[in-house]
């Protein structure tokens, strides 16, 4: 039972974590520089309908789902000695990185995004919020990308080792 749960959780974490890494890198590399160029009032308006619209349900579901998969994979891996030990570094690494990403999201991104609902169209306040969000998203993107790489490594380590699960 343990090995099956470990592998299922690593697959789940790779799917959800890949989605998070993709969107975080897209935001950081492509979108944030654009918002800075075309105007932050448009960003604030768009964010109210995207991240603070449908994103209120999708992003937490993705983030918490990926985190749970990583943590459950690490716990079941620890409790199941028959699972190939070659996967220990990426599985534990993915869990630590996913927790760090949650801390960055909870402490850095979410409070600033929620404050958009209160500050109205004050350009200076929006500029201040945007600068913080952009900085925290960069950290988040790096953590999600590393978590995704660790999960792909875990998947390969679990599958490509003799007597694998």
């Amino acid at each position: 039972m343990g090995p099956v749960v470990t592998r299922a959780c690593v697959i789940g974490a790779t799917i959800l974590g890949g989605m998070l890494a993709g969107l975080a890198l897209d935001r950081t590399v492509v979108q944030f520089p654009v918002w800075r160029d075309i105007g932050l009032n448009l960003w604030a308006g768009f964010a109210l309908h995207s991240e603070l619209g449908r994103g209120v349900f999708l992003y937490p579901a993705q983030g918490i789902g990926a985190l749970l998969c990583c943590v459950v994979a690490a716990v079941t891996f620890y409790l199941t000695p028959s699972v190939p030990r070659a996967a220990s570094v990426p599985i534990y690494g993915a869990a630590i990185l996913a927790i760090a990403a949650l801390v960055v999201t909870g402490a850095g991104v979410v409070p600033r995004m929620l404050s958009l609902k209160e500050i109205g169209s004050d350009p200076a306040a929006i500029q201040h919020v945007f600068a913080g969000v952009e900085r925290w998203w960069a950290a988040k993107a790096i953590l999600h990308a590393l978590t995704f790489l660790a999960n792909v490594w875990s998947l390969m380590a679990l599958g490509c080792t003799p007597k694998a699960v």
């Binding site: 890949g18 969107l23 998947l155």
Partner: protein, 154 residues
Amino acid sequence: MDGILAGGGVDRALIALPAWRIVGPMGWAAFSQHADLGNGRLWYPLWALGGMICSVGAAIILYRDSRATSATRAPVYAAAVFMVGGLLITLKAAPIMMSINRLGNDPVALQHAFDGFAFWSYIRLGSQFLGWLANLWSLVALGSMMNRGGERSA
């Protein structure tokens, strides 16, 4: 590579396009001129072409590998088909995106462009997402194939 592409694509399909529908085509056009036709001009093709080349390369290598079973071949071939399909559908979406530079501030024309781009984007992103799932399935299947090979040689 496909994971990064699919992640951005899912976000665009489920969050960004519906939000742009509310904000309006003028905002979408202004953003797209700097994003898809700016930084994204290198970023998106990098992942789309890179993922497609890797997927097709894997399918060709496996086609020539006599050890591969149909259970291993299926996801690898499916990934290649979906990734090539995604790129072909981009040929329908890309001209619409390229056209917004010359549409100016005509709200009706921009709304028409947005609707067309959104339509092809949903199909393209769906194909790329399925290609990515097939690639993950391929990783698992190839791992099992290597295990069998290791057990036989042991």
